[in-house]
């Protein structure tokens, strides 16, 4: 072992690197091309959102939640409103739930098309990137037509949605679905299921076995690609999703095998594109008429929430995995005493870092891109000691240790033994 150490090279992937869309850092120890160790450092994209949230009221927080991330802007917004609705016991009209399904699935289509293109770019297959992003423009146009914006469509409000989906929107969406089903999906399937280059690069790269996926609590397509049937829309019977017949998509239905590699994660995404389009069609068939908001006027929301007491948890299956928002009321005030979001990239990142050990350097960009990391969602925790003024950013190591301790405390019989990966971020000391 010692005689080989001199050949080991440590290379940093990040914080700024062509393979990454957002700042994060992976320190990779290499023996030739083989990866010996992966060290994850987070905290480069910390914007202090929870600190900002301490001086925003419930309505303003909705727009802050929307701006956590550029891709799943609807998901964060939706999850936050669900948490507040649970906290205050607000009933959402059924039509509003259907509209949420439609916009949420449109967002899933655009997020998955984006990620498919990013994967193409990560293996140097730029044609896939340009063509799939060209196809994505169509759904972006639809989202702009419905919400007025390409990215932050601000559809949700507490107790419903802000805009109705009208007949012209319905026609445009159904046109878009026909276009995707006839012209785009055959090409996407040809590339991601049958293309030899893609298969050569994605098969057996970044394998996350089912055991690791469960132990590291991987979420979304990352978990489903490893064969874990985990989908909040299905497991938690979220909203009207059970009426629409949603089922977790696993690669078994497409290729017959589950290996948990990058290829399988992409197969799940292709399957979910089909699923989202079917869900939208079914939602249009079943959508009842009626109100779209629980409150007739928006200025009634805050007085109602001021009276609320208790806490609420919102869960939603964002394109990248399960998002959880936690809101605790502050009776008599229009500002929540606590708002906390947990996004899917955090567990996925460590699952994929673990999966990379023993693989080749060439797999790093594609494996990282395959979980569709969203670091602007992930980097949110800074801890300031009010007495001493000492600041520190809690990172994966601290949080993982804390969560392991908490899990042990709640359930001493838990058998999984997650390892602590990486060290805490050096920037925490510099702040």
């Amino acid at each position: 072992m010692n005689s080989r150490i001199e050949y080991w090279v440590k290379i940093p992937i990040g914080p700024i690197h062509p393979a990454l869309e957002e700042p994060e850092k992976f320190i990779i120890t290499l023996d030739g091309e083989r990866i010996i160790n992966v060290d994850v450092k987070l905290g480069y994209n910390l914007r202090g959102l929870e600190w900002i949230a301490m001086r925003r009221n419930y309505i303003q927080l909705m727009y802050l939640a929307e701006r956590i991330c550029g891709i799943c802007s609807f998901s964060h917004n939706h999850t936050y409103t669900r948490a507040v609705e649970e906290m205050a016991g607000i009933e959402v009209p059924e039509r509003a739930e259907y509209i949420r399904v439609i916009v949420g699935e449109l967002e899933r289509i655009h997020s998955h098309l984006l990620n498919l293109g990013v994967i193409g770019h990560a293996i140097g297959y730029d044609t896939v990137l340009h063509l799939s992003w060209l196809a994505r423009e169509r759904v972006m146009d639809i989202l702009e037509a419905i919400g007025g914006n390409r990215v932050n469509y601000a559809m949700n409000t507490i107790g419903g949605v802000r805009r109705d989906i009208e007949e012209k929107h319905r026609r445009a969406i159904l046109d878009m679905i026909a276009y995707y089903k006839n012209e785009i999906m055959p090409k996407i399937e040809e590339i991601f299921l049958y293309d030899p280059t893609v298969e050569a690069r994605l098969r057996d790269a970044g394998v996350i076995p089912k055991r690791i996926a469960i132990e590291y609590s991987a979420q979304g397509p990352t978990a489903r690609g490893s064969g874990v049937k985990k989908d909040v829309r299905y497991n938690e019977r979220l909203g009207v999703y059970p009426d629409l017949g949603v089922k977790p998509v696993t690669p078994k239905e497409f290729t017959g095998v589950i290996k948990g590699d990058v290829f399988d994660r992409m197969v799940v995404r292709v399957g979910e594109l089909w699923q989202s389009m079917e869900l939208i069609e079914r939602a249009f068939d079943q959508m009842p008429g009626g109100k779209i908001k629980a409150f007739a006027k928006d200025n009634l929301i805050l007085p109602k929430l001021k009276k609320a007491d208790g806490e609420g948890i919102g869960r939603y299956e964002a394109p990248r995995g399960e998002v959880i928002h936690y809101v605790r009321a502050n009776p008599g005030k229009d500002i929540p005493s606590k708002w906390k979001a947990r996004e899917p990239t955090f567990p996925n990142l460590f699952a994929v870092a673990r999966a990379l050990v023993g693989e080749q350097l060439a797999d790093v960009p594609v494996a990282i891109a395959s979980i569709d990391p969203c670091l602007s969602c992930t980097d949110r925790v800074a801890v300031v000691d009010a007495r001493t003024g000492k600041r520190g950013i809690l990172t994966e190591k601290d949080l993982l240790r804390a969560s392991i301790e908490k899990t042990r405390e709640i359930n001493p019989e838990v058998s999984a033994r997650p390892e602590v990966v990486g060290v805490s971020c050096p920037r925490g000391d510099l702040l």
Binding site: A19, G32, E33, I123, G124, T197, Q360, A362, P365
Partner: protein, 329 residues
């Protein structure tokens, strides 16, 4: 006096090929952009890039060695020297017997100089890029040399003035033998050469040493300014020269005979026609190839050469050999 003309010719060729190869880079970027439904950069973008890079300061890393600064100069010098041994629609300027060895030597030397510069830059990305460059170099040259020497040997049997020189192709070519076995062998070798060309210019499957998303341009990671400009130019020259080899072996026909030109006019017409053929070969082996494929892992690329291309080259060479020995009537 003869040497003086040859030197002047080399300078002329250098200017012409620099222009033609940078123009091809612009064409390639535009063509690939159109294949990807993009608009793409202006046709003259490589010229703008080159001129801008030349005028920028060059940042030398603190840990860089001496070779870091010398490597771009050497690479360009070797590329220019290589021009004297490259067939451009007419026999190479310094055409002698056995000059194919000099040609291969110089072509490989450019890659070695890139590796030397990368290793001396002190960057871990460049180190890994250099490793990959060497690994792919030793894999790709074997099938290419096997095919090249076999074809030259076969042509020397037809009676040429300077055996094993690249001028041979303008006296005889592999197609004029005309027997089915030789024809099949030549077609197989053409495929081997197109794959070799793609890996020589590092596109598509073989964009491994410079993998942008993995190791941030590999050997070029630390270069900037003038040094990068020299490397860019020498890479463009190398692309043109490598494609010229494929064109000379498989498509050597000139146009001057058809047009009835002689003297300097014939040389210019052949050079222009050769440039068009080089563009056509590069279009297949570079533009289309890079638009329809992604990058392989280094292990897979090595397997492509040792397990696919080398057996293919051996079969092609055996077909030519069997035909010559007239074992099968």
């Amino acid at each position: 006096m003869n040497l003086l003309y040859a030197t002047l010719g080399l300078i002329g060729l250098y200017i012409y090929v620099s222009f033609a190869s940078l123009l091809w880079e612009g064409l390639d970027r535009k063509l690939v952009a159109r294949m990807q439904r993009r608009i793409g950069p202006p046709l003259l973008q490589p010229f703008y890039d080159f001129l801008k890079l030349v005028s920028k300061e060059s940042i030398i890393p603190r840990h860089a060695g001496r070779m870091f600064e010398l490597a771009p100069v050497f690479a360009l010098a070797v590329s220019i020297a290589l021009l004297a041994y490259t067939p451009f629609g007419f026999a190479p300027l310094f055409n002698t017997r056995g000059d194919v060895i000099v040609f291969i030597y110089l072509l490989t030397l450019i890659a070695f100089i890139r590796v030397l510069g990368a290793v001396n830059s002190g960057s871990p990305y460049a180190q890994i890029g250099a490793q990959r460059e060497i690994i792919i170099l030793v894999s790709r040259e074997v099938p290419m040399m096997l095919g090249l020497f076999a074809i030259l040997w076969r042509l020397s049997k037809l009676g040429v003035s300077k055996p094993f020189s690249l001028g041979t192709f303008y006296e005889h070519n592999i197609w004029e033998i005309g027997t089915p076995l030789t024809f099949m062998g030549a077609v197989i070798l053409l495929f081997v050469f197109l794959a070799w060309l793609a890996s020589e210019i590092e596109v598509g499957y073989f964009n491994i040493p410079e993998a942008e998303e993995e190791i941030a341009e590999g050997p070029m990671a630390e270069y900037s300014g003038r040094h990068l400009a020299l490397f860019k130019l020498s890479n463009a020259l190398k692309e043109f020269i490598s494609a010229s080899l494929v064109v000379a072996i498989f498509f050597p026909w000139g146009i001057s005979g058809v047009l009835g030109l002689t003297g300097a006019g014939a040389v210019v017409a052949d050079l222009l026609f050769h440039t068009l053929k080089v563009y056509a070969v590069l279009f297949v082996s570079m533009s289309v190839f890079r638009a329809i494929t992604g990058r392989l892992r280094i292990t897979q690329a090595v397997q492509v050469f040792w397990l696919r291309m080398l057996p293919a080259a051996v079969i092609g060479v055996l077909l030519i050999l069997i035909d010559l020995m007239e074992v099968i009537a």
